[in-house]
């Protein structure tokens, strides 16, 4: 298998401008980046392997400590030095995802698995410098300058990834990482120059994307502070270069690769359904939500919506999907924000905000439109028993849109994350995410007790009527 090497760290970007005219600024910035590139190629560069006692001098013939790691050793030898806990976490994740890939087959592109599951191992490295490796052996001098000037300073956030077979020699890995650093510096220089306005220089930030085969892993540098909405031209260029479809986002910041060792800080569970064993139906296939969503349910965010908030929570789950697939930069709305949106479109009176009134699929569709510019298809069944015959429509929805579906009927609202459906027998099962859960973010409980689980058609109230909201992906990059 391959090993993914990820090298992160900051490089000191500092320069002095004695005039403020643009050509001078550009020249100095270019020189400064060239200088950083020399630093990266110097003998004092040291790479430290995170969670291990390993240090590497890539520009000193690949010298390393511990000494048994020679430049000719296969790079998989690094693994034995990395603290076991971290290795196990990554491997386990891989195993879980691979087994589902086998079941899903070709219906799902690699892009669906934004969660990193292709690589067996991610080895993290940090940039360091050895102060006791002086490049300049001169006597120490103090240089004074009394000219007025502008001093520019920032820490350049380097983040390179290199993927190589685990049998590849370490010397090849070191060279690849140094080359990756230099080419990232070059990219960063271009981005900084492209977006500069006088002396306002935006910090270039790297993002990694796992694009569908044959492209694979790419790193794109975007200027900080410029929202995705203003970077459409850049994305168009990249879509064309990588031959990506022009109607769905692949390269928005939210689409960037989420490494398994970087836990989500917001505390919500992501894609709990991946931990379930799907049902096997005769000639049945699985049609599931594409990409990443967060599980929203009762009692979260210190809001006690037990008994009335289920549709709001389903809507939050759907919004989280649009945010994480890069369709919006807006945060998942609160109950009040949802209610305000309905007031703003004229659907409800002002007193609605702060109330505990239920909402249905129509309201969910209205809010998605108002807050995110997302249109939805509404499906209506007059009786719950009819849902069993909606296999084809739901399957098609998950194939083409792949968005979570909100279903409301009787007195309950749920989220449908997918179906297992047999075209020949008509058998169907529904993958349900239940917003009525009131407990903590405990994956074990949620999957064991069926708060996220596969349900049969009997799950639905056979006599009640149901409305389904099927959100449509906007055709945009």
């Amino acid at each position: 298998g391959n090993i993914l090497f990820r090298l992160k760290g900051s490089l000191e970007f500092k320069c002095q401008l004695n005039t403020t005219n643009e050509p001078h600024i550009q020249k100095v910035i270019s020189r400064t980046f060239e200088d950083l590139c020399s630093q990266v190629k110097s003998e004092s560069l040291v790479l430290s392997v995170c969670n291990s006692p390993v240090f590497i001098w890539p520009n000193k013939g690949g010298r390393a400590t511990p000494e048994c790691l020679t430049p000719n050793s296969p790079c998989k030898d690094l693994q034995q030095f990395i603290q076991q806990f971290f290795m196990q976490a990554t491997t386990h994740f891989y195993v879980t995802c691979v087994s589902f890939t086998k079941l899903f087959g070709s219906y799902f592109s690699l892009a669906s698995f934004v969660l990193l599951c292709v690589f067996q191992v991610v080895i993290n490295l940090n940039l360091m410098t050895e102060v006791t490796e002086p490049a300049d052996l001169s006597a120490t001098t103090l240089m004074r300058c009394s000219t007025k000037h502008h001093f520019l300073y920032t820490a350049m956030p380097m983040d390179c990834v290199v993927s190589l077979p685990s049998s590849e020699r370490l010397s090849v890995v070191y060279d690849a990482l140094v080359v990756a650093l230099c080419s990232q510096l070059d990219e960063m220089k271009k981005v900084m120059l492209r977006h500069m306005k006088g002396m306002t220089l935006l910090i270039p930030q790297p993002f990694h994307f796992l694009l569908p085969d044959p492209v694979g892993l790419v790193t794109v540098v975007y200027p900080a502070g410029v929202p995705d909405s203003q970077l459409e031209i850049q994305r168009k260029e990249l879509h064309s270069r990588f031959e990506l479809p022009g109607n769905r986002p692949y390269l928005r910041r939210a689409n960037s690769l989420h490494f398994p060792d970087e836990p989500y800080k917001d505390g919500y569970l992501r894609n709990p359904h991946l931990h379930l064993k799907p049902p096997t139906l005769g000639n049945g296939k699985l049609y599931l939500v594409q990409g990443v969503y967060s599980y929203h349910h009762y009692m979260q965010d210190r809001v006690d919506d037990n008994g009335w908030g289920c549709a709001y929570r389903s809507l939050q789950t759907i919004c989280s999907w649009f945010q994480q697939q890069g369709y919006t930069e807006k945060a998942v709305p609160t109950h009040k924000e949802i209610q305000q949106a309905l007031v703003d479109v004229g659907d409800k009176q002002g007193s609605f905000v702060g109330s505990r009134q239920w909402i249905g699929s129509i309201e969910v569709a209205a809010v998605l439109d108002q807050l995110l510019g997302v249109t939805s298809k509404i499906m209506f069944v007059s009786q719950g028993s009819e849902l069993a015959s909606k296999g084809r429509e739901l399957a098609n929805h998950f194939l083409s849109e792949g968005t979570p579906v909100m279903i409301g009927g009787g007195v309950l609202a749920h989220t449908i994350l997918g179906v297992a459906w047999s075209e020949t027998t008509g058998e169907i099962r529904y993958l349900i995410l239940d917003p009525h859960y009131t407990g903590a973010e405990d994956l074990q409980v949620i999957t064991d007790k069926g708060w996220c689980g596969w349900k049969s058609p009997q799950f639905w109230d056979q006599n009640a009527y149901y409305n389904l909201c099927l959100p449509q992906r906007p055709k945009t990059i």
Binding site: G9, S10, L11, E12, K14, C15, Q16, N18, K27, V28, R31, D35, Q39, S44, V46, S48, P53, F55, T65, E67, N126, L127, M128, T129, E130, V131, T132, E133, P134, D136, L137, S138, A139, T140, T141, L142, M143, R144, C145, S146, T147, K148, H149, H150, F151, L152, Y153, T154, A155, M156, P157, M192, M199, T200, L201, L202, I203, P223, A224, G225
Partner: protein, 422 residues
């Protein structure tokens, strides 16, 4: 349980040679005690008397007679200044452990008060301008030794410098042969490349000292928290640096190479989206290579002790020579404001019969006899010129040979081209 000081035999000889009243008639002799104090042992390697001050108008014998029974002429400021200059001459691991006082019997009673005064004054003075911080593991007790000229009786006490109100604690003072023959040595060479911007409200050269200090403080912090490798290996803090020793093995002096690793840059504490821009009235740039050395008394020393002493030496040698340079500039009075000046160069001199060295700093216009004179004056040692090691640091600026750096400086339009300084 008091501290127990184990003292090099030669110190006894030296102290017994000191007489009070001395040739100038002062009724006491003060001096410094130098060595290393750890939680395991306190070793004293060297004793150095405070040099005579050239005071005018003190020739009359009648005045000297009166000086017999008073300590009025004790110049605390002079003692502390001597201490400060001596501490600059001590490589890492060696420090001023305390003060000694040789007096006539009549002054024995006052001696304790004087010693207390001196201990706290010396400590205060030498810790000014220190760029590293004491840790919990540092020994904060200093030794106060009193010797009576008649009885040659020694009274040894310690004071805790953290608590000026604390009372003295008794301590042991024992002479031993070969205390300093097998200390461990750590060495490294550190490359400096600091650019310190001088913000708009400051002006060179007046604010040079302040700017340098601030810039050096940041750099010193990076060194303090940096990773330390000993002989190319990274080891746990509590590991002994001398591996695989037999119990009760005879200690042998070993030299260890230290390496210090720091992050290339610190990520910003507050995420910004734009590059920071500051208006500056100038800048200071410190470049070159310094040679660093530190000593550890015990063959049981741990990695964290080794890291601590070498890092402190790195920080001290840079801040000392910058301080000396600025003092010199102040003294000269004339600042030709020239662009690039060479800082004093570090040289080493081995103490006879010991594995320990002291160091000194040579200005570009000085020669070996100046160093030798200083060693005699400040450390009371006769050091032959040929035993002064000047090979560790370069005299000249070689930078012209490195094309990238010179080009960069030229194109910035701020600095003229660098010439080698003969």
């Amino acid at each position: 349980m008091g501290r127990g000081y184990i003292v090099e035999n030669m110190v006894e000889k030296y102290l017994s040679s000191l007489q009070a009243p001395d040739s100038t008639g002062t009724s006491c002799v003060t001096g410094l005690l130098i060595g290393q104090s750890t939680s395991q042992r306190d070793l004293v390697a060297l004793a150095v008397r405070t040099p005579q001050r050239n005071t005018d108008g003190q020739g009359s014998p009648s005045i000297n007679r009166r000086a017999w029974i008073s300590l009025d002429h004790l110049d605390v400021e002079w003692v502390t200044e001597h201490a400060r200059q001596v501490s600059r001459m001590l490589p890492g691991g060696l420090s001023i452990l305390g003060v000694f006082l040789v007096t006539v019997p009549e002054l024995s009673k006052e001696a304790q008060n004087i010693l207390r005064q001196l201990i706290f004054a010396v400590d205060k003075h030498i810790s000014k301008g220190r760029l590293w911080s004491l840790t919990n593991e540092d020994v904060t007790e200093k030794v106060a030794l009193h010797i009576c000229t008649e009885t040659r009786k020694t009274v040894c006490r310690t004071f805790d410098i953290r608590d000026p109100k604390s009372s003295a604690k008794p301590a042991d003072w024992k002479y031993q042969l070969g205390v300093c023959t097998s200390w461990q040595v750590l060495t490294c060479s550190v490359g400096l490349d600091l650019l310190i911007p001088v913000l708009d409200m400051r002006v060179l050269p007046q604010d040079m000292e302040k700017c340098m200090k601030e810039g050096l403080k940041i750099w010193a912090k990076q060194i303090e928290v940096g990773l330390c490798l000993i002989n190319g290996k990274i080891l746990a803090d509590e590991t002994e640096i001398v591996a695989g020793q037999k119990k009760n093995a005879k200690p042998v002096q070993q030299t260890f190479q230290a390496q210090i690793l720091i992050p290339m840059a610190e990520p910003p504490s507050v995420q910004t989206s734009t590059v920071l821009v500051k208006m500056c009235s100038g800048s200071l740039s410190l470049k070159g290579m310094v040679h660093c050395r530190a000593y550890l008394q015990s063959n049981k020393s741990r990695v964290k002790d080794a890291a601590k002493v070498i890092k402190r030496d790195i920080i001290n040698t840079v801040s000392s020579r910058v301080e000396m340079f600025l003092e010199d500039l102040l003294m000269e009075g004339v600042d030709n404001g020239s662009v690039e000046q060479v800082l004093p160069r570090r040289v080493f001199a081995s103490l006879p019969g010991m594995t320990l060295c002291v160091c000194d700093y040579m200005f570009p216009d000085e020669c070996l006899s100046d160093v030798s004179d200083r060693l005699k004056e400040l450390l009371d040692w006769d050091m032959p010129e040929d035993s002064i090691d000047t090979s560790q640091e370069a005299i000249i600026v070689l930078r012209k040979n490195i094309p990238i750096k010179s080009d960069m400086l030229k194109s910035n339009g701020l600095f003229p081209s660098i010439d080698t300084i003969d």
